[in-house]
Each structure stands twice: as C-alpha cells, then as structure tokens.
Amino acid sequence: MSIGKDLVAASATPLVLAILSDGESYGYAIIKRVDELSEGELQWTDGMLYPVLHRLERAGYVEATWGKSESGRRRKYYRLTNRGTSELADQRRQWQVVTATLRGTPFHQFQAIPQGI
C-alpha cells in the first residue's frame, strides 16, 4: 500500500525518536527496524533518512558519535538526548490527540492501528 508523502514525512520524526529510545542505533539499522515494524508497508527511501537524522541532531534531540562497525569501518551512531526524550513525549501526545479525534469520527478502520504510538 502506498502511504502519502506527507504522512511519511510527518511520521518520520516520531518513528526515529521512538526507535532510538530503544537504544543507540545507526542509519541502516533504523531503516531495517522501520521496515520490520511496518511489515514492509513503510518503504523509506534510504537516503532520505539521513537529512532527517541530521535535522534532529541539529535540533538537539539526538546526538551522534562516530564509532566502528563490525568490519572495522567508520560508522555514525545516534543516541537520544534528554531533549529528545521530552520531544518524543510531546510527539506522542500530539499523535494521541489526532488518533483520538479520528476515533470519534466514522473512521472505523482506524481502531485497528497498533497501540503504543
């Protein structure tokens, strides 16, 4: 199923923050996790993730360090900061408002979305 561009863009920030709240990760692993979680429905263009990550880094929600991959190559790891955690909580509240509003309307399928967003 194709998801609208705007929706993909809007959900990118909360998804990345939420995935990082599970622990430190790097770009490729984040994309794989999104693919897993959405059961293949959310196909992010790989390259698009990185500007998002950089934007979050600039805003102070994540912090990046250069480490080593298994093969010894340089790899950039991202970690959620305290500001990021509160931003994640804020995003969660926003999404809850939206989903609760939609639940109140005849938008029946909406009740089937996974909880925990």
Partner: protein, 448 residues
C-alpha cells in the same frame, strides 16, 4: 570490483555541494550494509550494488533534501579559513601580510627624504612615476615565494625592477612631456607582465601558465576593486568619526590609510586569489556573459552610426585616445572570455557573439588606424601618434588573427586551443611594446 564501484559512486555523490564528505561516509556505510545484506539474501555482488544504489534514492532529490537541511553549504565558502592545511595556510598568511605591511612602509619612505605626495607637483609626479615600482615588487615577491622561483629567475626579476627604477628616474624627461606620460602609462603593463613570470614560476613559455596568469589578473582585479570599495567606506567613516571628534582627519586618511592601504591591498588581493581560486571561478564566466553583449551592441551601434552618417572619425586627438581605450577594453574582454570559457565545449551562441565583437572591433581599429595615418601625414611624427600607431597595429594584428581563428573554430575546422594559443602568444608582444615605449621612445624623441 565492488571497491571500484563504490569509489566511483563516492566521487559522483561528492560532487554535490550540499553533501559533505562526512555525509558521504555515512551514506557509504549504509550502502555497504545494504550490499552485504542483499548478498546474504543470494544476489551477486553486481546486482546487490545496483539495487543498493537505487534504494539510496535519486541523487537529485537526495541533495535537495540535504540542501534544505544545510542551506549554508550552497554558498561556497568565501571565508579564507585554515582548513586541513592549517600550518601551510598560516605561513602563507604571514608572508602575505608581512609583504603588504612592507609595501605600506616602503611607500612612506620617500617622506623621509622630503618627498610628500601632498607636496608640490614634482613630488606627486615622483610618486605617480614610481607607483608600480613601489607595489609590484612585493606582489612579485609573494608569488615568487609561493612558487619557489629558482634563484636565476629571482635575480632576473630583481634586475628588471631595478632597471625599470633607474630608467624611470634617471632619464632626463622634459617636465610634462609626452614621452614621460607615455612611459608612465606603459610601465605598469610591462611590470605586470614581469610579475607574470614570477607567477608562472619561470615557465613563461608554457601557454597554460600564461592563460592562468590572465585568469589570475582578472580575478585579482575583481578582488582589488572589492577591497578598494571597502577601503573607501573605511576612509569615509574614519573621516566622519574624526571630524566629529573635532580632529582633522585629512592627514590620517590621505597620508596613511589611502597610500598604505592602497598598496597593501595589491599584495592581499593577490594572496586571496591564490587562496580561493575556486570561488571566483564562478564570477568570471558570469561577468563576461554580461559585458560581451553590451560591448558588442556598443560597437555595432557605433559602426552603424558611422555608416549612416558617413562621418569619418574626426581626427582629434582625444577621440583617438578614446578609441584606443575602447579597443584595449574589448581586447581585454575577449582575452578574459577566452580564459573563462571551457576549452572543451562545442561552439555555441556565446562564441558567435564573441566573433561579432571581434569583427566589430577590427573594423573600428581599421578606422582608427586610418585616422591616425591621416594625422601623421598632416602633422608628422610625434611620440603620442607613434605610440597610438603602434598600439593600433598590434591590436589590428591580434583582432585580425582572432577573427580568422574564431571563424575556423565556429565552422569546426580548428580547436579552441588555437585561439588560446594566439592570445597567449601576444602577451610577450605586449611586454616588448611596453618596454619599447618606456625605454626607447624617450631616447628617440629626445625626452620631449
């Protein structure tokens, strides 16, 4: 095999301005992960690479996203900062600033001997006559240091500057005579071309070095004008502040800021051009793009008017000087356009425009030549007329050859390199002519 492809891919992505090297590192790591995952899923190396690259996404969209994020990267960094080569940059900066300061000090030295440039006319004349000698040796010194000029050339250049100094100051010019004026006008050109030898590191025969020097000259001029404008603002504000405080700013501004800043800026501009070559690369083509059509229109309008009204060029002296100036500017513009053009590009609209410019200038030159010959037959030889004659002949030869070569280039029969070669071959001709005017003219015309 994979490493080669990844290197190619890296080079391709790195060309995007919005994507810096560190980002490319990150993307490369991603690419490699993707490739190994796909290989684990059973694809061979080549297929895996192709799919991984495709998954990274369309490069245009990607760099647009990066550009939105890092919009400041789209401005090429105009600031000269110590990048990776910190130590080297520091040394270069020290040398450049040191030489600029030395130039500023040198120009004040004559004051110790009582020669002031707000003094009597003879003093001012002294400064005007020797201005290029006060300034250009320092620029030449900086370039010679940067290029590690061999000792032989260094000695030769110093000798040339000394000889110029002796000639300009020891020849018994008649006060306010024409030969002196001509010498004053041609000395900077001769010395500038001598500085070119320093720029080329002694390899003055190499046409590429000559063309690089043309580019350097154009860019230097742009930088100098920018610095001079800033300097003008500085002087204006200084004058305002000091007069507001009740002190007389005139000495400070005219005796210190103006001369020292003006000569120091020559070296600084040269240093900046060397340090930031890739930035101005973008300005040169734009400037030639703007000015070539304008000057072509000017020449066409002029020729049209002449044909319409049937007036020959009036043989007055000032008119001839104006024409010579116009022709020099057009030849300079043509030379600059050639230096700014990609030598491998196919002939296009802009080249046709250049051709029209050259042909029009050729016609104007022919007319001016006619007028000068008329004046000479009527009034006889004089330093000014002979100088004008010589210059017009040189420009005629240059423009004529350029027109022929351009015609062949446009028809695809010759390469662009022949045009470059033609122009760079003329540089020593200009130098020789300038030397003749400075040294031989006064002697032949008995210093009048």
């Amino acid at each position: 095999m994979l490493e080669e492809r990844i290197a190619e891919w890296r080079a391709y992505v790195s060309r995007r301005q919005a994507i810096h090297a560190v980002d490319v590192d990150e993307l490369e790591d991603h690419l490699r992960n993707q490739v190994s995952d796909l290989q684990a899923a059973g694809l061979d190396e080549e297929e895996a690479f192709l799919i991984a690259v495709k998954r990274i996404g369309d490069l245009d969209t990607l760099s647009r996203e990066f550009a939105r994020e890092y919009s400041e990267r789209l401005w090429k960094r105009l600031v000269v900062t110590p990048g990776a080569g910190g130590g080297e940059w520091n040394r270069e900066a020290t040398v450049a600033v040191g030489l600029a300061v030395a130039a500023g000090v040198t120009i004040k030295v004559p004051e110790f001997f009582g020669v002031r440039w707000d003094g009597p006319d003879t003093d001012v004349l002294f400064y005007i006559r020797n201005l290029s000698l006060f300034v250009l040796p320092f620029l030449a010194g900086f370039l010679a240091w940067k290029r590690a000029l061999p000792k032989g050339w260094l000695a030769g250049l110093t000798g040339a500057f000394l000889a110029a100094a002796l000639v300009m100051n020891l020849m018994p010019f008649v006060h306010e005579g024409h030969t002196q004026l001509l010498a004053i006008m041609h000395l900077p050109m001769a010395l500038w071309l001598a500085v070119g030898v320093a720029y080329a590191g002694g390899r003055w025969r190499d046409p590429r070095q000559r063309m690089n020097y043309v580019r350097f000259s154009g860019e230097w001029f742009i930088y100098y004008v920018l610095i001079a404008l800033g300097g003008g603002v500085l002087m204006g504000i200084t004058a305002l502040v000091f007069s507001a405080a009740g002190m007389d700013p005139e000495t400070l501004v005219t005796m210190w800021i103006l001369p020292c800043g003006g000569v120091g800026a020559v070296v600084i501009a040269g240093w900046l051009v060397e340090a930031k070559q890739s930035v101005i690369e973008n300005m040169a083509p734009v400037l030639t793009l703007i000015f070539t059509p304008l000057f072509t229109l000017l020449l066409l309008a002029f020729l049209g008017t002449m044909a319409w009204t049937g007036n020959a060029i009036s043989v007055e002296r000032d008119v001839l000087i104006a024409f010579d100036l116009l022709l020099v500017v057009v030849v300079g513009l043509h030379l600059y356009s050639i230096s700014a053009r990609d030598p491998h590009a196919e002939p296009g609209l802009f080249d046709k425009l250049q051709f029209v410019l050259v042909v029009c200038a050729l016609l104007v030159d022919a007319m001016a030549l006619w007028a000068i010959l008329a004046r000479i037959t009527e009034f006889g030889f004089s330093p000014n007329r002979v100088a004008a004659l010589g210059e017009n002949l040189i420009l005629l030869a240059n423009l004529g050859g350029a027109a022929v070569l351009y015609a062949r280039f446009l028809r695809g029969r010759k390469g662009f390199a022949s045009l470059e070669r033609w122009q760079t071959n003329f540089l020593p001709v200009y130098l020789a002519w300038a030397v003749v005017v400075v040294v031989l003219f006064p002697i032949f015309f008995r210093f009048v």
